[in-house]
């Protein structure tokens, strides 16, 4: 175990020096577009769609990035304009506590059940 821990620490150190490279705005744009729904399509993201709606959203997102808005601010802007429905990645809010936390609670609950059914004794 000690060895593994050591390796992990080394990795973390190596990574801090590398991962700081700045993300290009194009990549950011694509990331955002993949996370918003094309409202007039059937189950497509804006990124994957060529509909008029998607094209106009693409322009809006590009403009907002050039204006220097952060990813979060852009999502916020879109949500105010089009509603929560447009975001594929729902934020943690009073509407979505259950959505995000219930699976995790179930995981803990399941773990407890598994634990209770095991015999753990030292030899």
């Amino acid at each position: 175990m000690k060895i593994i821990k050591l390796f992990l620490i080394i990795f973390i150190l190596i990574n801090f020096s590398q991962s700081k490279s700045d993300v290009k705005s194009e990549e950011l744009k694509n990331k955002i577009l993949k996370n918003i729904r094309c409202l007039i399509c059937q189950g497509q993201s804006v990124y994957d769609s060529e509909s008029d709606f998607a094209l106009s959203i693409k322009l809006i997102v590009e403009k907002k990035i050039n204006d220097g808005l952060s990813e979060k601010q852009i999502y916020e802007f879109l949500r105010e304009k089009y509603g929560e429905w447009i975001l594929y990645d729902p934020e943690l809010s009073k509407n979505t506590y259950i959505l995000w936390l219930l699976p995790l609670l179930l995981f803990l609950f399941g773990g407890a059940i598994v634990y209770m059914n095991l015999i753990i004794k030292k030899k």
Partner: protein, 626 residues
């Protein structure tokens, strides 16, 4: 003519359900050895009538008999014969008839294949299955009769949605349904086994076959749907966490959990309640799949029927089945002796429990992610979307321990074991971490996270590979299945990390340069086919290493119904797929193209095939590992 034959065959089939139930109840109280021959014949007869009905629907489709409403709505005279036939199940009514066909086929097969099982258990299974069959008969006849008559007879049909005119999608529903409906047998059989207090080692060996059959078809069915989505929907992904895909993944997760639990039951009487619950859950989830897709509740690319009346019927039917099964479970199920049920922590059983724990967690993520927006909409009229980021965030981190457990679990013995070969297990782990790190270092910016994710996948890969090649085929099906699962994950991970994608607008004759090569739009070609006209783009792609690839994506304008589809052109090699699709931009002379290089794409399909092969081998294997 075919219309009437089909319709009356259905009525006869329904009538046979009642006769069959009556005869088998009588036989149940009879003290004879073995099932009355009459029951078998009646069960065959029922299957026979449903197949007659199904064949007459196919015949109507082949003849383009537009006096049949289903044919009118979903077919067209200019459609190729192959798609006329596959159109039979490419719609709501026909696909339900197919469900029914498989339901009656499977129960008949069950009856003739279960000779060695106790008589009462077999008869009760038949009766439970008949409850499901009657439900489907009523559903078909009441809300979705495939043989509705139209008068005056239309001259021409409305056509089949062109994106459904595709070879993979033609065989996708039947395969998937074989998986779904196979779970009905598991459901009926486990309820019957509970009432007969027959949840035992013998039962486990017998039901394992049905679980495997169901699992193999479900796995293949999901894969076919995914392949179709990959090349037909035109944006190069193969899994969208779309509700309809999720709905097919959920029974797969419970079925996989069930398959592993039954391995325990084969050796010792443990986990009995859990196995029954999983059997019930698998079938209910398969039914929910049908319900969610057919009722129009889901907003999805695949939904092709929107009718609330049908939804309500299935919902009621579903509740009946849930109450029936839970009622039977609580009334009849006898708990085992608590102490016998306990499992030593360092044993294969324990690792299977952990496997179930994670699978159930994945299930809960998918289930909650799929249904929560519906509930929120109903309760508070707020619409939210739950898309890929949600699933990735909640599932991906948990894959890491899951894979480690999956690597170590099969190393343990049943009942009780000691850790042997600690050294090689640790060495493999360290190698995996180093390997992932050095592969990833130059490829992506997010090295740390990806290393943490890919190392356990490599770990599983090495350990199962070692088992496959060194251990002299001790438990081959299991090794193959686990090995291919690691291959699947590795291909998916590398595919998502290394994919290259370029989207641009381009005119004929133009060249587009990107940092790894050049795309040249050479010319446009026009073509006429019987049911569509097409525009084919000729593209020449140079990459920096001097390799030239020619790709010809297509735009198809289907005549019935008028729809424009984009057909991607894909060149597949063992290393990567090159994918090009073009889209029409309204009112502009340029086209929007999407060029993708997707590494290891074919390995995703190969590993799923291999995974099912593992299942198939386990099915054919006579003896099991002690």
């Amino acid at each position: 003519m075919a219309n009437q034959i089909g319709y009356y065959s259905l009525i006869l089939g329904l009538a046979l359900s009642f006769i069959l139930s009556a005869v088998s109840i009588k036989d149940f109280y009879n003290n004879n050895q073995g099932i009355n021959q009459k029951v078998l014949s009646l069960s065959f007869l029922q299957f026979f009538f449903v197949i007659i009905s199904f064949l007459s629907l196919i015949l109507s489709f082949v003849n383009s008999d537009f006096s049949n409403e289903t044919v009118f709505n979903n077919s067209h005279t200019t459609k190729p014969l192959f798609y006329k036939i596959s159109g039979t199940w490419g719609n709501h009514e026909g696909s339900l008839l197919l469900w029914l066909l498989v339901l009656t086929l499977f129960i008949f097969l069950f009856l003739i294949k279960s000779n060695e099982q106790p008589k009462k258990y077999r008869i009760l299974t038949l009766l439970f299955q008949q409850v499901i069959i009657i439900g489907f008969f009523l559903f078909l006849l009441k809300t979705s009769n495939p043989f509705n008559y139209l008068f005056p007879i239309p001259k021409e049909g409305l056509g089949l949605n062109p994106i459904l005119q595709d070879p993979a999608l033609a065989i996708h529903p039947p395969i998937l349904y074989l998986g779904y409906v196979g779970s009905s047998i598991i459901f009926s059989a486990s309820l019957s086994a509970v009432t007969q207090n027959y949840v035992s080692k013998e039962w486990a060996q017998h039901i394992k076959k049905w679980i495997l059959i169901s699992w193999i078809f479900l796995t293949l069915g999901i894969m076919l749907g995914s392949i179709w989505a990959y090349y037909e929907l035109g944006w190069g992904g193969f899994w969208f966490w779309d509700p309809v895909e999720n709905v097919s993944l959920m029974p797969w997760l419970t079925l996989t959990a069930l398959l592993h639990c039954v391995l325990v039951l084969e050796r010792r009487v443990a986990l009995t309640s859990w196995i029954i619950i999983l059997s019930i859950a698998t079938f209910i989830l398969s039914m929910c799949g049908t319900f969610l897709v057919r009722s129009g509740i889901l907003n999805s690319v695949h939904t092709f029927a929107n009718d609330p009346e049908r939804g309500i019927f299935i919902l009621i039917f579903l509740f009946v089945l849930i109450f029936l099964s839970l009622g039977i479970f609580f009334l009849f199920h006898k708990e085992n002796n608590k102490n016998l049920d306990k499992i030593f922590w360092l044993s294969k059983e324990a690792s299977i429990l952990i496997n179930n724990w994670f699978l159930m967690y994945f299930l809960s993520v998918v289930l909650i992610g799929t249904t929560y927006p519906i509930f929120l909409d109903v309760i508070s009229a707020q619409k939210i979307s739950v898309g890929p980021p949600f699933y990735h965030k909640l599932i991906v981190p948990f894959l890491i321990p899951f894979l480690v457990f999956m690597s170590l679990g099969p190393k343990l013995n049943w009942i009780k074991s000691k850790v042997e070969n600690k050294f090689s297990l640790i060495i493999f782990f360290i190698i995996s971490i180093f390997l992932s790190f050095f592969i990833l270092r130059k490829l992506t910016p997010g090295v740390l996270f990806n290393t943490v994710l890919i190392s356990p996948a490599f770990y599983l890969f090495f350990i199962t590979a070692k088992d496959l090649f060194i251990k002299k085929f001790k438990n081959l099906p299991q090794s193959i299945a686990h090995f291919s699962f690691s291959m699947l994950l590795l291909s998916i991970l590398f595919n998502s990390i290394l994919s290259l994608e370029i989207i641009t607008n381009i005119k004929v004759g133009e060249k587009y340069n990107f940092d790894k090569g050049q795309i040249f739009f050479q010319k446009l070609e026009k073509n006429k086919n019987s049911n569509y006209n097409s525009v084919i783009g000729h593209f020449k792609i140079n990459n920096n290493k001097g390799k030239i690839i020619y790709l010809k994506p297509e735009l198809r304008i289907y005549n019935q119904p008028v729809t424009i589809t984009s057909e991607a052109d894909i060149k597949t090699t063992l290393l990567a797929d090159t994918f090009l699709v073009m889209n029409l931009v309204k009112g502009k002379e340029y086209f929007n193209i999407r060029y993708q290089v997707k590494p290891f794409m074919i390995w995703i399909w190969i590993s799923v095939l291999l995974l099912s092969l593992g299942g198939l081998m386990s099915l054919l294997k006579k003896k099991y590992e002690k």
